[in-house]
Amino acid sequence: MVNNFTKTVVSYTIWKDIDKIIIMERLHMEVYLDNSATTKPNIEVVNIMTKALTDYYGNPSSLHHKGVEVEKLIKTARKQLAKALGASEQEIIFTSGGTESNNMAIMGAIESKKRKGNRIITTKIEHPSVLNVYKNLETKGYEVIYLDVDSFGKINMEQLKESISEETILISIMHVNNEVGTIQPVEEIGKIIKNNNENFIFHVDAIQSFGKIKFTPKKIGAHLLSVSGHKIHGPKGIGALYIKKGLKMTPLIYGGNQETGIRSGTENTPGILGLGEAARCLYEDMDNKINKMWILKNKLIEGIKNEIHDIKINGFEKEGSAPHIANISFLGIRGEVLLHSLEQDGIYVSTGSACSSKKNTKSHVLKAMGLKDYEIEGAIRFSFSYNNTLEEIDYAIDKLKKHVKDIRKIVKR
């Protein structure tokens, strides 16, 4: 096995050398199957962002024309995102990304309900940008109920109903899990909330479901819903929070009262226009895009099942899971070793644990699903986008088969 790296340039802390950062020799195709981590921005998105930086650089708060034109563009972007979400533009607040949207939703919700009680309901498999907010709130006297999940990563509705008490002020559930793709029954939860006279707030983290499943916050019955730009072929550093009309929100950040005072700070024009454009591209052809991801996912799973023995599919295969995530354990293999082997062939995936003896890096999601240590160790997440092709999947299956065989040969003594 040759080392595919070209010579490294070490002083790449300097901007002028940024294009010299180690790039593997391109001896192969690039197959990017890590779209849950981030996606490649669409070229339309890049173009509009470049324009935002070169022509539309005004401050939307300025009184002169240079500001007004930008204000109009931001309004358009807000409309595009609102349309893709099936919401009105007054219900959309731009944030710095998914993490801020989740933080803002939770902190704002408890601020407005704190006189009513102190119980919060969530799940064991939320994203850290939700879980760690709750860990912090627990130290401040809030009681947080972390719902269990079954071996497919789905919560139990009975347990949820039992957890609701007089003291409950917020239910916060992720729509699609970022590691295994399992869909939570958010519409059922929305109904329960309706039946409870909307006594508490319902927040949905839809960062992994936006553009992958058809939904609207209204249909779900969510009061708050988070989305992120870079998971839908938009830029990083931009996200949004849907806030149902009439819901009072407390800001996390104070300042010049932009975004109706809920999120101050000069608008990130390139990010906002990029997100608006990404939402427009997404909305244009959503059914076909979703369909294509299903075809890719099914093909990969079938291929792996046929070609490789001793594997375990984590989460649902079809019904009940999102079209863009497949999580598969290759038993007897360390995920990170397989990841680096695949990267040599230009295939990019992610793992359920990192190869480190010093730190516990095992996925909390797979643990909550009751996977055994060796199953977590061998877990690989493949995540698709409509830009992937069937040839790429064939190539990936072929390389997977080879590397899994090689690594198993070494590990088995």
């Binding site: 040759v2 790296f5 070793v337 680096h340 082997s341 590990v411």
Partner: protein, 391 residues
Amino acid sequence: MKKVLIVRYGEIALKGLNKSYFINKLVNHIQANLADLGRLHVHQAGGLIYVDMDEYDQDEVIDRVIKVFGIVSVSPAYKFDKNMDSIYEVAVKHINERIEEDGIKTFKVESRRGDKSFPMKSPEISRMVGGYILSHTEGLKVDVHNPEIILHVDVRDKAYVYSKKVYGYGGLPLGTNGTAMVLLSGGIDSPVAAWMMAKRGMEIEAVHYHSYPFTSERAKEKVVDLARILAKYCGNIRLHCVNLLPIQKEINEKCPEEEMTILSRRFMMKIAERIAIKRQCNALVTGESIGQVASQTIQGLTVTNNAVNIPVFRPLIALDKVDIMDIAKKINTYETSILPYEDCCTVFLPKRPVTKPRLDKILQSESNLDVEKLIEEAVKGMEVIEVSVEE
């Protein structure tokens, strides 16, 4: 009046006819460490080295100068014409600075008269300056036994006033003792070993072994970062990165499981020796410390030592882990070393590595392998990185 840094060297002062060679090296290293700040004038006179640092950031200059091996201590000082009026004036100015900075309450004056033509003797200078300070400041006391600061007045080519002393690391100037090839892992020990040998005047090159794709690219980046920290002391470091995976695979296939580690170590030594000879290095350096791990028992060391012919230095051999960690913290490699990336994948770690290997048995196992071919291929595929201090 000028601001200068007085630089004192230790062991070099004991050198005989070669003294000037060492001192010139030292001056060159000081200049090199300051090069990116600007052209600071560095000169030597009367057993000391002076750095003019007028408009430069004093802390920045000191931080760079004390990283030069061979320096015992430095003192930022005022340099001015030698007459008593100026001495009074500067002494009071400096004392006031110290009151402002550190809120000092007690002091003592010590004088040295290198220039014997100066009309006043040292005790007299001290007495007069001390008296002048007391009558021109508020709330200060003299304490001859336990002063918070000692105000030094030195009269040589010019007059110097200072009160601070920052200690360096001692040792000998880089490059006065040849070049060493260090086996640099991502751990705590090997960077410390490299630093200790550099402190005794050896220039440093390094070889790093990884098992990509069984180890991560980030593990290699971590070693580059460590080399960059070391470069502040040792100058630029040429880092040779060698992929050991093909060799590990061979050993895995053809040798007893419990000998995996010890055989890999022998290959690491042999490859390092090969590169060292090519690069005209005089010795290998490892971070081994006796008894620390299975391959560092006396029997393990005997077996790995047997793999090479050039000298192998193990500066940490008799240090406890705690002592090594202390040095690592002092030289600023510790935080980087403990980042959790593995340097050699544990996939190949035997469950019970042999702790008392017998040389004859290990050589027997090694004969199952085409050693020469494996070494050659490893060296051929290596990647070379020139690591310099961050610009």
